[in-house]
């Protein structure tokens, strides 16, 4: 552990990612790129009502269309109640959906599916399927949905359209805490409906062999969950389902769910005895995809005069849309996140998740915490203003630190949040850069700070485990078998680096096999910022087992005790005697009639939890004539433990900031609040930040609080950046123009409206106390 050399040879370096050559040359195969002889194309007919019973559905005209090979409706698919988010070990899954139901719960829900010889014929056949609906009263608003007279969207559940029982998290005595406060602040905050908008529309292709084995090519973050739930719903033994994922074009959380088309594709392939591919259109990625949960948050906090927090109380309501999906997990993770970030002994939180006849909300990077910390971090800014303190100072004063109990009920390791705030403050020249509305021109600038913490792994909500197998070839190279998904983060490169580092081998000596449920060890899927942390640790443990076998054989060959040997630069050395060495290839390889050794290590890692931290410093400009808000620069400071691949980690942060700017300033998937009809299911009307909108980003990675549970101290980074940037922008807008926004997205017309209102009111509440 404490050799006198650069601490690590392979990790901490931005080696060339193993997946990129195929991606930049067009050779990478995504699920939609495969073509087989006889391939059929599947399409889904979607409902144009938000809530209705299907009185009659007639596919006969569609079936008569030349080229149509099969049509499925609720009348001829298995009726098996299943969960959309099939985390097998989670206590919080919601079993509330069928492949096709005789009832429609949101505008755009699938009601039938067609397989045909061309996409055009399949599309034409959809119009020939006749559906008669009996409309039911629909409800789109979470408050309305909880009223006693509201229509119930599901027959099951907890009444009042609750997806799960209200979740309460309590620490200390919140009434006592407010009694001790010198100053109490409360407010309501609201988050819109951004979507992940991954570039690769959902796609899967299915093929059955003569023995009844189903092979599924699919774009998913959770191949083993697809296998499990597909087998369960289709009534197959697990061993009959093989799921293949090589490259996939992004997921950002949403591709953890199972979608209607995936079951339908398998059923159409079975019925036609031909391979079938189903590919979403871009519009369908909105209609049949998953969004972030729209949320309303009431938040109240008490402070002493010196800024010490005494109490925090919150009610959080998440809109789940028509199905439960990740609603329970999001509600628990998001609501409970408010026990922490800023330390407070007296906390009372209640989280609800409510069904409405709206698009399905699911998992999306930040997982409920985006909404919660948007409210918390803006309110901290408001409190600082009222207390006459600098917001960074107030946040630093209350920042969680070593030993504090995290939302997961684990004690925190290190002082990551304090480190991020201090480092960023110095880097940007805070507080001198703050404008406090002093800019005189039409375009006013301002700076804001936003903070966050996010757990690596979904423990304890899910009792996760990482698995890995490492085996050594007779030439001293090794193969890592991992079930982790390659959704674009470079995870397989990072895991290969970890294996190389542990084994003392060059990076190029490690190859990685993934993406085939028949071959690689079981994996829970790529989510919860846990792939490097948990899958990486399992890979390290498996590599250590191979290393032990290698050293045992080397000990015999080199006539030295195994505990005196070490491996570096592809060689085994006797410690302190560098001239006594053998190459790894010589050790493992065949010698004079003795076959090569078979070194295999298999490991399972049960993670606990670690937290990563960030403070984002953002400069914005606000055009007071047009209301346009531009982000001028972002300085994200992240504490993520040991960094395995610096460029990969920075890439996660920059991409997360792009999506965070998106939901804070532009992105909102909207439905008509009378009919439930989708209004902007395309990339023109659903505006995202593009190259012209993105500011320079000066990413800083700190390694000051490594977690002993992660490989070499590494922690997660995927979700952190999208959380912190939102409140930083809102706080910067306040610094620029003195207007406080408590919702997202913040739109130009709202800026203009707020500025008009501000002009007609005397300057009272927004003034900075002397």
């Amino acid at each position: 552990m404490s050799q006198r050399k650069p601490e690590h040879d392979v990790i901490g370096r931005s080696v060339k990612r193993t997946d990129l050559l195929d991606k930049v040359t067009g050779n990478a195969r995504y699920a939609g790129d495969f073509i087989w002889p006889g391939l059929l194309y599947g399409r889904i007919k979607r409902a144009d009502v938000a809530h209705a019973l299907i009185r009659r559905i007639d596919a006969s005209r569609a079936l008569a269309l030349p080229g149509v090979k099969a049509v499925l409706t609720h009348q001829n698919v298995p009726r098996v109640l299943h969960a959309g988010s099939p985390h097998p070990r989670s206590a919080s899954v919601t079993c509330d959906q069928y492949i096709l139901d005789d009832r429609v719960r949101y505008w755009g829900e699938g009601v039938a599916a067609v397989a045909a010889t061309t996409e055009e014929i399949a599309e034409a056949a959809l119009d020939l399927i006749e559906v008669e609906y009996e409309a039911l009263p629909a409800v789109f608003d979470v408050e309305a949905a909880q009223r006693p007279d509201a229509p119930l969207i599901h027959d099951r559940g907890f009444g009042h359209n609750l997806v799960l029982a209200p979740q309460v998290f309590e620490r200390g005595d919140v009434a006592q805490g407010f009694a001790e406060a010198d100053f109490v602040i409360e407010g309501e905050y609201e988050g819109g409906r951004p979507t992940p908008a991954y570039m690769e529309p959902n796609v899967c292709a299915c093929q059955w062999d003569g023995n009844g084995n189903l092979t599924v090519w699919i774009s998913t973050q959770t191949a083993f969950m697809v296998r499990g739930i597909m087998a369960e719903v289709l009534g197959l033994p697990l061993s009959k389902v093989r799921v293949l994922v090589d490259h996939m074009g992004g997921g950002f959380g949403a591709k953890q769910d199972l979608f209607q088309h995936e079951f339908l594709c398998a059923l159409l392939a079975k019925q036609t005895r031909r391979p079938v591919r189903m590919e979403y259109t871009r519009e369908e990625t909105f209609l049949g995809g998953r969004t972030r949960h729209p949320a309303r948050i009431w938040l109240k906090q008490g402070f002493r005069k010196d800024g010490t927090l005494t109490a925090r109380q919150a009610r959080v309501v998440y809109n789940s849309g028509a199905y439960g999906s990740h609603g329970p997990g999001v509600t628990i993770v998001g609501t409970s996140s408010l026990v922490s970030l800023y330390r407070c002994d007296n906390v009372h939180l209640e989280g609800r998740c409510v069904y409405t006849n709206s698009p399905i909300a699911g998992a999306f990077r930040g997982y409920g915490v985006v909404q919660a910390y948007y409210a918390l971090d803006i309110q901290m800014d408001e409190a600082a203003e009222a207390l006459g303190m600098d917001p960074a100072e107030l946040k630093l004063k209350n920042a969680v630190r070593e030993g504090d109990i995290a939302p997961s009920n684990h004690p925190l390791v290190g002082h990551g949040l304090e480190d991020c705030i201090r480092h960023g403050r110095e880097l940007v020249g805070w507080p001198a850069v703050r404008r406090r509305g002093r800019d005189k021109g039409v375009v006013k600038t301002g700076w804001g700070i936003g903070c966050e913490m996010h757990g690596s792994s979904a423990y304890p909500g899910i009792k996760e485990q990482g698995n890995a197998i490492v085996k050594m070839n007779e030439d001293g190279t090794v193969v890592l078998l991992t079930g982790t998904a390659g959704l674009g983060t470079g995870a397989h490169t990072a895991l290969s680096q970890i294996v190389a580092e542990e084994l003392g081998l060059g990076f190029e000596r490690v190859s990685c096999v993934h993406g085939d449920t028949d071959v690689v060890p079981w994996d829970i899927g790529a989510f919860a910022s846990h792939t490097t942390y948990m899958g990486g640790r399992a890979a390290q443990m498996a590599a250590a087992k191979v290393k032990a076998q290698l050293l045992e054989r080397a000990a015999a060959l080199m006539e030295a005790p195994a505990d005196q040997l070490e491996v570096r630069d592809n060689h085994v050395f006797v410690r302190g005697q560098p001239q006594r060495r053998m190459s790894v290839k010589e050790v493992v390889g065949a010698r004079k009639g003795i076959p090569a050794a078979q070194f295999v290590g298999s490991a399972t890692y049960h993670p606990t939890k670690s937290y990563s931290f960030a403070a984002h410093f953002v400069e914005v400009e606000v055009d007071t004539e047009t209301g346009r808000i531009g982000v001028r620069q972002v300085v994200p400071v992240h504490e993520i433990g040991k960094v395995i691949h610096p460029v990969g980690a920075a890439g996660q942060i920059e991409g997360g900031i792009q999506q965070g700017i998106g939901h804070t300033l532009y992105e909102d998937y909207q439905i008509d609040m009378k009919t439930g009809r989708s209004l902007n299911a395309n990339f023109v009307d659903y505006k995202m930040p593009l190259s012209m909108d993105m500011p320079p980003i000066r990413t800083v990675l700190l390694e000051t609080a490594p977690d002993p549970g992660g490989p070499f101290g590494a922690k997660g980074v995927g979700e952190d950046p999208i959380v912190a940037v939102g409140p930083a922008i809102a706080n910067a807008i306040h610094d620029a123009i003195g207007v406080r926004f408590r919702h997202y997205p913040i739109k130009p017309e709202q800026v203009l409206q707020a500025l008009r209102e501000k002009q007609t009111q005397p300057e009272t509440e927004e003034g900075v106390p002397a």
């Binding site: 991606k23 930049v24 067009g26 995504y30 690769e200 074009g249 871009r282 900031i657």
Partner: protein
């Protein structure tokens, strides 16, 4: 009723039979077997299907295959300098980490190639403008702009 269309793609003369309403994107991906060009929206909003047609970048989803009659096309599969040597743009995309999921990458590299073919020394703002119609959802664009700038020699390699 299918019709024959002939074009040169990546230096190879091809003749394929397509329906008259077939998009160039579908014809390239299916009939020509060139799946490196991606379908992200099929309506000209995302740029994932950018190819170079007679020297100009086009969204292949907005061009009918029949319109490519006699055209010279370059797709992502035709960009490499040789089997062993990636194009400098491809090399820099790898070095800079300018691709993550990789789905938008072929379209952006084609757009960048079209830019550099016409303007070998673009400013950073010209690069940002050139790829303004290409949606990337993973990278925040910073590393993409860096990779294109490095290829042009207008951005220094970072340590």
């Amino acid at each position: 009723m299918k019709q024959l269309v002939a074009f040169t793609v990546n230096g190879e003369e091809r003749e394929i039979a397509v329906e008259p309403n077939r998009s160039l994107l579908d014809a390239l991906r299916t009939e020509a077997g060139l799946t490196g060009t991606k379908k992200g929206c099929d309506v000209g909003e995302c740029g994932s299907c950018t190819v170079i047609m007679d020297g100009k970048p086009v969204n292949a989803c907005l061009v009918l295959a029949m319109e490519a009659q006699g055209a010279t096309l370059t797709t992502i599969e035709g960009v490499q300098c040789s089997a062993e040597e990636p194009h400098p743009l491809q090399e820099n995309f790898m070095q800079c980490g300018a691709a993550q999921c990789g789905f938008c990458t072929p379209g952006i590299i084609m757009m960048a190639k079209a830019l550099l073919d016409e303007n070998p020394k673009p400013t950073t703002d010209e690069i940002r403008f050139a790829i303004a119609g290409n949606i990337c959802r993973c990278t925040g664009y910073t590393k993409i702009i860096e990779a294109i700038g490095r290829t042009a020699g207008t951005v220094e390699a970072q340590p």
